[in-house]
Amino acid sequence: MMNNEIEILLVEDNPDDLEMTLRALRKAKLANNIQVARDGAEALDFIFAQGAHLGRKVENGPRVILLDLKLPKIDGLEVLRRVKGDPRTKIIPVVVLTSSQEQPDVAECYKLGVNSYIVKPVNFERFAAAVSELGMYWMLLNQPPKV
């Protein structure tokens, strides 16, 4: 694994959730190569190596995307649609992190090919546990197909 390879792309606009998620990943020793995007547009720029990330190789990951649905500019659903709609990126596992199941677009997420879907619990310990478990699972157990 190359050092400059980004392992986790965390797409989150809420600074509180962002900090808690980063902390949970750090505690689970998964925080080495995290790229943060604060809205959908930033996320797409990174994933498709465009804008600020021009020159990066699309093929270089990330290995997992943690995606909030409610995002400024371009929402999470649209990011998911683009990622799963492009043959270069559709193998990247996407885990949707959202505030609740009340969202009408849970079904839509599954239709678009989301790999996991988790509701951020109010309970801090459970949130931390959920984030680290997810990170572990997709980073360690789910080896990407060899190219």
Binding site: D16, D17, S100, E102, Q103, P104, K120, V122, N123
Partner: protein, 506 residues
């Protein structure tokens, strides 16, 4: 001899004449007192009396009672004065039937000029009378009809015009008869008449044709018209009858109904749209509550947790305790929001009714709530649980809430016993969950199923007070009923049904 011969011939002629008369007429002779002195065979056969029964009687014997006294008095005074009377009389035969005779009574006078006898010659006109009566009835019917009944020739010239037509179209019969039918046609429909007349000439009828006609005063009336050919005896079409009915009111009522229906339809569409909008709003509200309210809660809870975790050791005990309370408060609020949302979701969720194996479902719930090897063990006694019809996921929620309550409120009992079963009442399945826990005072039973209603203090038994409200909503959505009986410190029993009660057999 010649005189004798002449007399003989004269008598013969008289005899022939009488024979011919008897053949054609009903003949009777009465004396000056009115007593019958002679009747011919025809008189007997039409009156159905024998000659013996008639002779010596007067004409009251065959009086029908039809004619007024003045009529009879006029007859008698005429013939008593030696004048011939002519008229039509209705008589009654012996068998009670009536017959009409066209009558001529000729008085014959004596030397003093007083009537000596009366010779009455009559002709049976019963058939004609019956026909006339029938015709009178028809005329009366036509005249009393509310419908306009009109006759016209094949050229469309009005020949008959009943009072109904006078009323409907405003023209009197005198004004209408002789005029063309188009008198009452609106200008734009004048052409209709040619088509109708052509059809009639071919023997076709027009039935309940709805059109418009114009009254004498210029007002338009909506009419339903039936036009039929009139045939003469030989079966030849000689004209047409037209029956027109005023349907203005009916048309107006019809239009009103259509308007009302359209209004109703529009109102339904409007209300549905309003409801849909309200529903959308509610959904947006739920979304907002769940998403936007939970995010700051996560921050309160999360950062309080992080402070405790990272800097707990540097805080004084009291500070740590207060922070703990901040966290617990946040957590509790999170639970309340979740429960409330779950409760709200129940009303929107569609009921997926199917056969449910109750026994297996309860077993599953018990294994989750009271797994073997759990520190606190609850003794469960499960009776026979029949299968039922319902939404499996929702029913699981019902059993989970009832059983977790039973387990919660038996805390501290040794042994803690929870009994699950089903009673049959009037063919209805009544499921129940009985515990030997703390129970409650029945005077608060009405609060049991309200949202956020609790009968126990939070420091005694934790909970949000939504569980039983959820149970009640699910049971109601299945068409059933839920209730409870209890006594403080002596346990509680919760009962529920899943179908509408039927009071008759089975």
């Amino acid at each position: 001899m010649a005189a004798d011969q002449q007399l003989k011939e004269s008598l013969k002629e008289l005899h022939d004449l009488k024979a011919a008369l008897d053949e054609h007429s009903i003949v009777a002779i009465t004396d000056s007192q009115g007593k019958i002195t002679y009747v011919n065979d025809k008189f007997c056969s039409i009156s159905r009396y024998s000659r013996d029964e008639l002779l010596g009687q007067d004409h009251r014997l065959i009086n029908s009672g039809h004619h007024p006294k003045e009529f009879i008095r006029d007859l008698w005074s005429t013939i008593a004065r030696g004048k011939v009377w002519h008229g039509e009389i209705k008589n009654k035969a012996k068998d009670g039937s009536f017959y009409w005779v066209d009558t001529t009574i000729v008085p014959f006078l004596d030397d003093q000029g007083k009537p000596r006898q009366y010779v009455a010659i009559r002709t049976d006109i019963t058939g004609r009378k019956h026909f006339e009566e029938a015709q009178e009835r028809l005329v009366a019917i036509i005249n009393s009809s509310d419908d306009a009944i009109v006759g016209k020739t094949l050229d469309g010239i009005i020949t008959d015009w009943n009072p109904g037509a006078e009323e409907l179209f405003g023209y009197t019969a005198a004004e209408a008869v002789g005029k063309p039918m188009t008198l009452i046609f609106p200008p734009e429909l004048i052409n209709e008449e040619a088509g109708i007349l052509a059809g009639i000439a071919r023997g076709e009828s027009v039935k309940h044709y709805e059109t418009v006609r114009v009254r004498k005063d210029g007002r338009r009336v909506e009419v339903s018209v039936t036009v039929s050919p009139i045939l003469n005896h030989a079966g030849k079409i000689v004209g047409a009858s037209k029956v027109a009915r005023d349907i203005t009111d009916r048309k107006r009522a019809q239009a009103q109904i259509l308007q009302l229906n359209a209004d109703l339809e529009a109102r339904v569409v409007r209300r549905t749209a309003e409801l849909e909008a309200a529903n959308k709003e509610l959904e947006a509200f739920s979304y907002s509550v769940s998403h936007d309210l939970r995010a700051p809660l996560r921050a309160i809870n999360g950062f309080a947790g992080i402070v405790l975790e990272e800097y707990g050791s540097q805080l004084p005990d009291e500070g740590r305790r207060y922070l703990e309370r901040v966290r617990n408060g946040g957590q509790r609020m999170g639970e309340l929001i979740d429960d409330l949302l779950a409760f709200a979701r129940l009303s929107r969720q569609l009921l997926n009714r199917q056969p449910v194996n109750t026994g297996r479902l309860v077993q599953e719930v018990l294994e989750e709530l009271n797994p073997p090897g759990n520190k606190r063990q609850v003794e469960t006694r499960m009776g026979e649980l029949p299968a039922c019809q319902g939404d499996p996921a929702l029913l699981k929620q019902v059993w989970t809430n009832l059983l977790s309550n039973a387990i919660k409120y038996t805390c501290g009992r040794t042994p803690a016993v929870v009994e699950i079963g089903c009673e049959q009442n009037n063919g209805q399945k009544i499921f129940f969950v009985r515990d030997n826990g703390v129970g409650f005072d029945m005077q608060y039973a009405n609060k049991l199923f309200g949202v956020f209603q609790r009968l126990h203090r939070a420091d005694q038994f934790e909970g949000t007070g939504v569980g039983l409200a959820i149970v009640q909503r699910i049971v109601h959505r299945h068409g059933g009923r839920v209730w409870a009986t209890a006594e403080p410190e002596r346990g509680a029993t919760f009962f529920f049904t899943l179908e509408k009660e039927h009071h008759d057999e089975q």
